[in-house]
Symmetry: C2
Subunit: 321 residues, 2 copies
Amino acid sequence: MLIVPEREIADLMTREAAFAAVEKVFAAMASGDAYNFPVVREAIGHEDALYGFKGGFDRAGLTLGLKAGGYWPNNLETRGIINHQSTVFLFDPDTGKVAAMVGGNLLTALRTAAASSVSIKHLARKDAKVLGMIGAGHQAKFQLRAALEQRAFEKVIGWNFHPEMLPGLAEVAEEAGLPFEAVELDGMREADVIISITSSFDAILHADQVSPGTHIACMGTDTKGKQEVDPQLLTHAEVFTDEVAQSVTIGEAQHAVAQGLIRDADIRQLGEVINRTHPGRSSDQAITLFDGTGVGLQDLAVAAAVVGLARQQGKAIEVDI
Amino acid sequence: MLIVPEREIADLMTREAAFAAVEKVFAAMASGDAYNFPVVREAIGHEDALYGFKGGFDRAGLTLGLKAGGYWPNNLETRGIINHQSTVFLFDPDTGKVAAMVGGNLLTALRTAAASSVSIKHLARKDAKVLGMIGAGHQAKFQLRAALEQRAFEKVIGWNFHPEMLPGLAEVAEEAGLPFEAVELDGMREADVIISITSSFDAILHADQVSPGTHIACMGTDTKGKQEVDPQLLTHAEVFTDEVAQSVTIGEAQHAVAQGLIRDADIRQLGEVINRTHPGRSSDQAITLFDGTGVGLQDLAVAAAVVGLARQQGKAIEVDI
């Protein structure tokens, strides 16, 4: 089997490879070639940790396995290591033998960024000029970097609950040669694309703060109770997601569905748009919303890609098991 | 992290170590120190394989992780490797980092054998003389070897759907210096302890084929629909299990519970007997029945034990991840 340690991922994996892997597996999910297993997520009663498994199988890509790990909230403070810890295990679908083990921390950040980036490619207006960011934490920078590659953006605007973190986004915009402007939430009306990436449990962005023609990627809601946008927004918007089952239970759409504002059937898989079995955005005036919940198949897809790169570059550790 | 490859397990792991690990974790489950996560089990639609994850956390032993793998029915015929393929992954419960990877094939056989053996230690009559085996496949030999260490047995009797496989059991009995006798199912009335280890989907052993005072370990039923004994037997017997939730859904007790013959509350955890919070067998005339369904914590417990042995003996592969 092959091992690709966490420390090698930064040199091996590219945003382009993550984008390609996520786009492909979203397409495979929509065509029925790939599916995610039920998610296991447990509060284990030790170190306040959340631990679990996200698995799946992609028949088209022959990728089988799981991401295991979770959230250890005391890691950074008490041990100087990051709180999100995960490892991806790939199995040979022909035999059931373990085939690879891959550090999953940076990959998780890259695949999450790739998801909103894929949604922008397929759902945002071609002439989008202003990118709005809601949230300015560690992951927000990944989302921003990946998003900037999808359209000829001319400006980045941003809002964060803690405004003192906004300079982190300004830096990323500057790297791309773009001006950055801190705004109030009302200022998001100027945005053509909005990415929300927070850990909020209440609606931040309201329906009247979003202009016609905008594409919104809601990337922060991955648990029951979390929420980033006004559920009313989902009644106006054309709603897409990575996986409908997750969208309506743990994703942003959970609230609009629970309140009877929209039904499961109103939500389409982004993969359908990638596969051209759904036309995507209906007009330049439509608001499109991508509910990115994060699925195991994304993790497996980027891990399989990095194993391929590590093999090519001789950077995988081979262990005879 | 440490890797203990499958090929090292046979030299490292002992029946004694497996017994001790399984007995301890059953006790931890009963005292509330250890619990199993929901099981993921998927027919993936490739190679007719069943694949999934059994995870858990033992707060007392600080063992966290999962067994991943499954059943690949074409392996032996087309590739010359065994059909059951699994790998155990242990995580550091303090940080969420992966700590060890252990080959799970032989360990699964040993932990399953240890489970019926632990049940014999705690539930069979002390003066048990005749051990009856129902089933004579690969796993039956493991169960028999482990069982023979628990009482001063004087004879082994056996029945199998394919009687031509019984000499395999006779060999194991001979190794232990005991006579072996092939019997009809009615002949099981002579047995003081019976282990059933088949892949049957119908009752094999009937209530009138079991004498008072017998201990029965039903080890084959681990899936909805499987069945080894007459559900009526469970109304006469004092019923114990590894985990009640599995016993009533995928274990031998599923049928008696579904037919309303017994209730969940009639089934006790074997760990309670180990912990002496339940007296176990009520009399020499009682029939005791252990429904061994197989839980993830057993896998984690034997894997943690083998990692300890491998470390002591310098046989673990250390990988810097």
